[in-house]
Symmetry: C2
Subunit: 354 residues, 2 copies
């Protein structure tokens, strides 16, 4: 099919769709990168040639996206500050651009999914930031099928080999939290993690195990518990941990919000933090600094994750080269007041007595 004068230039997404490859691959071919299989390169170049493009001009003549909008798609309810922090990062990255973000999550509603597909087919968006998606996600599958660029923040599972993702160094974060508690002298360290099927949970608990093993401390399965990422279930689960015959002296918790439930359980049982129990969280939510005692935690750079993902997406849309496929952002330790060396005995917190 020769390019007729009336036909508008193809977008990268369209070339990718026609050639049956990802947008990242088209970008690589255009930018003459060497890490593309020869047969793939040939196929992409053929599609571009058929539309009358000279390879060296392609990068400039491709449309840089034309709707001026990207979708923000969360693979669950928009009901946690977790998603809000990522959203703020996306908003920040878009600030100096002409691109605007549309909240487009379909919440598994059939009608809304149909409307969303309709929007894609109308070219209503240039790309998408996906939160908590994986290969099985409707979003990811549809965007891939249509060759619309996307970046996944905090992937929920496996992605396609060329799909871009941005997440936190969850393994390192888990190791760092545990190593810090070990360095204070703790040996009996519990882990109260988020949902066990979430990759971030698996990575954090693997980091926890690694740190214990490195220190020669046996991993006690009775000390490893899971709950959703919210306060209520964490409270319940913490009560279980406090009912163990031999209590831990410290606990690594899967989210700051869970720490609110852990604090409540400890308060009700009269167990002082950090005197009788050290608590370390994960996320560094804005309120972590202001709970009492101020929460020591692992900073998960949610805002930065949203920002970095969006910048990557804008480059994909513009047809610029993207170096990394998987990006992990650092998770530093934020020391506050909820961790201390272990004490010999439990000390009742008088504030909790009636």
């Amino acid at each position: 099919m020769a390019k007729s004068p009336e036909e508008p230039p193809l977008t990268m997404a369209q070339i990718a769709a026609v050639a049956g490859v990802s947008v990242a691959t088209v970008s690589k071919v255009i930018n003459q990168r060497t890490d593309v299989a020869p047969t793939t390169r040939e196929r992409v170049e053929r599609v571009m040639a058929e539309r009358g493009y000279m390879l060296n001009k392609a990068a400039r003549s491709l449309r840089k996206g034309n709707s001026g909008q990207i979708d923000f798609l969360v693979g669950q309810e928009l009901n946690s500050y977790y998603a809000f922090e990522i959203l703020r990062g996306v908003e920040e990255a878009l600030l100096p651009t002409e691109v605007r973000m549309v909240l487009a999550s379909t919440h598994a509603l059939r009608e809304r999914e149909q409307q969303w597909r309709q929007r894609l087919s109308e070219g209503a968006i240039d790309g998408a930031v996906l939160v908590l998606a994986d290969k099985r996600s409707l979003y990811l599958q549809e965007l891939t099928r249509r060759g619309i660029p996307f970046v996944v923040v905090d992937p929920f599972g496996e992605l396609g080999p060329e799909d871009l993702s941005v997440s936190a160094t969850n393994w390192s974060g888990g190791k760092l939290a545990t190593a810090y508690l070990l360095s204070l002298g703790h040996r009996r360290i519990a882990a109260l993690m988020g949902l066990p099927d979430h990759p971030c949970t698996q990575d954090r608990i693997a980091g926890y195990r690694h740190a214990l093993q490195e220190a020669g401390v046996p991993v006690d399965p009775a000390l490893i518990h899971f709950a959703n990422f919210h306060a209520e279930q964490a409270y319940q689960e913490m009560m279980q941990i406090l009912a163990l015959p031999e209590m831990p002296t410290a606990i690594f918790v899967g989210s700051d919000e869970q720490c609110l439930g852990v604090y409540r359980a400890l308060f009700e049982r009269g167990i002082a933090v950090p005197g009788a129990m050290s608590v370390i969280g994960f996320d560094n939510m804005p309120y972590a600094e202001w709970v009492t005692p101020a929460l020591t935690t692992i900073h998960q750079p949610l805002l930065e994750m949203g920002r970095v993902a969006t910048k990557l997406l804008l480059r994909l849309i513009a047809g610029e080269p993207v170096e990394s496929v998987r990006i992990e952002l650092a998770t530093p330790l934020i020391k506050r007041a909820s961790c201390a060396p272990p004490q010999g005995n439990l000390i009742s917190n008088p504030a909790s007595l009636p």
Copy 2:
């Protein structure tokens, strides 16, 4: 100008713009409401007649908005859970519709404002939800000028007489909080409010004064303090209050986030909550239930405010009648564990000792 067959039907917004009235007024004329000045009605009817509309068919023939998008515009940074809760409400109200929300705040950046005006002129949005806007707001002025429907959530000041708004019953909330503390036996009740130029602050403090006066308790100006709505400044201000020659036994605080700072100050000074100081907040943020002690607070229905505003907006866009211009949603008292009757003496909280 007679309507030619090629011309698409005017939107309500366009009729409003041509007639120089608000969309609400056009809606009233179409729905044959009586509360429209005769000269105004005449002008609107003339515009519609010039475009070949029969009045009784107008409501159906008007386009129901065609971009399928509304803007969400916050008159400040998107940096607080306050805005996030409202946004969640907007998202919820849009769920069963085909309309999507665009985050379009311009953050007072000239270039972005220009882009936003451009989007308006291109008909890119059918309407807007404005948070913390007033008559001086660029958003409000531009939308009015172009006759694009909007609803203001939590107005920051005066609005045009026909502009729709949704807010909380701040005066009643302030009165309720204060009356509750009075009912527990408190007489020396401080108020640590948000920014003094914010209408919600003025309403809440007026409710506080009213409750005190009704109970025959003199208002002591030394007990009324202001800060921004965040924890840090509230902490500083609370330290000032605790340095007063005669301390209060209870405090009404302008936001739950401020309460985090108040709790910190009290904890550092060894003042037990609620034993030596009762604390009541405002907002009922998700974490209020989980701080220790669980925070008694006035529920500000932020999510509902976003939801109600969006439903109103959708009716405006569809040309349906809207009854109320100012809507205030109730602010009930949520009793938890941070308020109690006053005690004779201050009791030091041993947990705060080194």
